[in-house]
Amino acid sequence: MENIYKPYLAEITEIIDETPDTKTFKLRLKDAEVAKSFNFKAGQFAEYGVFGDGESTFCIASSPTRPDVIECSFKVYGKVTQALRRLNEGDTIGFRGPYGNWFPLEEQKGKNVLFIAGGIGLAPVRCVIDNVLDWRKDYKDITIVYGARSVSDLVYKYKLKEWQEMSDVKTVITVDPGGETDGWTGEVGFVPTVVEKLAPKAENTIAVICGPPVMIKFTIPVLKKLGFKDEDIFTTLENRMKCGLGKCGRCNIGNVYVCKDGPVFNYAQMKELPEEF
């Protein structure tokens, strides 16, 4: 019999402290056969488990175009993330995935891409950014807007620097008012305001947006005002999950199971759902 709940074992090969409460793990699947055949698409997620403490759901933050390493980033909040924080390089965790659907990147070739992320919401977006950058010639203008509460809450600072240095990518980084430090050269302001000021053109553009619910709530009207179509605004829903397989019932909203029918939805699809996310 096949056990769909059985994870792969993965070794933590590197730990990066992103912020005081956010970490990134680089992982290597221990079974060489599994590692060789493992593949996923941008936007998919996995269950990461500490044996004895349980599993937690995060997106795969690294890009499928860079398959040598699996990365995940998490903010320390609950029981499992606290257990993950206590682990060291060389330790073993459980990994189940990839699960769920993905961003339709193949279908969007030839378009401009606008990325908008807030806080740890950059993790699922980063996967798409790296994927699109690796297919750079297939897309037109690429714009990244990223915001966090304060300078110390910005994740992936090494990535931000890399993107800022690219001549064919426009990267705008902002912190909430009061979150700036002396010498901060980025923007100061909430993400929706910064997007409004930047006024990216909506024509032939898709927007990929991820962040705290409040950021999404106020950014979508801005995008609508700029003329973005519902079908061209994509996000990932973050309902609580356990199985990731469309069985345990936890992530069910309306007629969808976020873990199976999502986590990626466009705004037209989201509008069809009851507001339970």
Partner: protein
């Protein structure tokens, strides 16, 4: 459909042989389904009240290990959890229980297949029994079933006189199973079982499930959800006694400093923590929203997704509710 006849005495002999052959025999007792050692204890009564709990735990256990683990310094070793491969015969189940298989098969098999469930179902032989019990909580006829429905049964019993039962052979699995016990069965008389069946008083149809489905689609926001939510204790007994509620949790249970097991345990959408994010955000933060989810999941979402109503109309949830929330009444009022 082939039909046989078995006498009451031979039914006991049949059951004795089932036990003697090393199979599990499961039959409804006063409060729950029990594993039977002595078949003469079985009371086959079409007029009995449904047990408090369905036999769900025998196909989808309340708590079951899905793997075992041992932690080393940096490493972990996983060991497989096994499912009991013994054949299990469910004897005398009511149609509102046997119907659960068709419904549960959908969720446990769309895309990913849950073999913990499938392996058990594969080893089950379901012998259903016509039902002549009906109280104010019963509503099988409102969810597309009936007291004489053979859905989910491999064999179906209909009492035809004081001493004999008609045995309808519903599936090939059922046919094959009784092959080994053919000495207890005689040729059937379908007209007799049909006559017996027609005499059964069917519960009144309380609602039109299609209309309810339509109403739910239009009334996600409605004052009734908060109304019933204020009554509800969020205890989730309704989910635990339900033959088809299937929400579960995955939790690790250490039993030493280095060893433990990962468990798949029943859970319920009526608990506040069910959808609670680690951040404190909860999409269904009040009971009204959770009750709305229960009704919508059963009578709308599951229908849209799997073309089955997530309810067998057994009435257990209402019979057992500490604050008398009656699902039949609530659903019957989901209409303009």
């Amino acid at each position: 459909m082939d039909e046989k006849i078995i006498s009451k005495q031979n039914l006991v002999n049949f059951c004795k042989d089932i036990v003697a052959n090393g199979h599990n025999l499961l039959a409804p007792g006063k409060t729950e389904y029990n594993l039977i050692q002595d078949p003469s204890e079985i009371v086959l009564d079409t007029k009995s009240k449904p047990t408090k709990a369905s036999y769900k735990t025998f196909v989808f256990p309340k708590a079951e290990p899905i793997l075992y683990y041992k932690r080393g310094k940096n490493d972990v070793v996983m060991l497989d959890a096994k499912v009991d491969e013994k054949k299990t015969v469910i004897f005398g189940a009511k149609p509102c229980d046997t119907n659960s298989f068709n419904i549960l098969n959908k969720i446990f098999n769309w895309d990913y297949k849950d073999d913990f469930y499938n392996e058990r179902v594969k080893n089950f032989i379901v012998i259903g029994l016509m039902c002549e019990y009906s109280d104010r909580y019963c509503f099988c006829t409102s969810v597309g079933s009936s007291p004489v429905s053979e859905k989910g049964s491999d064999l179906f019993l209909v009492p035809i006189d004081e001493n004999n039962y008609a045995v309808r052979i519903v599936t090939d699995k059922g046919k094959e199973f009784i092959g080994a016990y053919s000495k207890y069965f005689t040729e059937g008389a379908p007209e007799k079982s049909k006559a017996a069946e027609e005499k059964v008083k069917q519960p009144e149809v309380a609602f039109d499930s299609k209309q309810v489905h339509e109403w739910l689609g239009k009334n996600f926001e409605h004052p009734k959800w908060d109304g019933v939510g204020d009554l509800c204790l969020s205890c989730a007994q309704c989910a635990f006694v339900c033959p088809v509620c299937h929400c579960f949790d995955l939790v690790d249970e250490d039993y030493s400093y280095t060893e433990g097991r990962r468990m798949k345990n029943w859970d319920g959408c009526q608990f506040g923590h069910f959808t609670l994010h680690a951040s404190g955000h909860n999409p269904r933060d009040i009971q009204g929203k959770r009750y709305r989810q229960r009704i919508n999941h059963k009578f709308k979402y599951y229908v849209d997704k799997f073309d089955e109503i997530l309810c067998t109309g057994c009435g257990r949830c209402s019979r057992g509710c500490a604050v008398s929330i009656d699902i039949k009444e609530i659903v019957a009022n989901c209409t303009d």
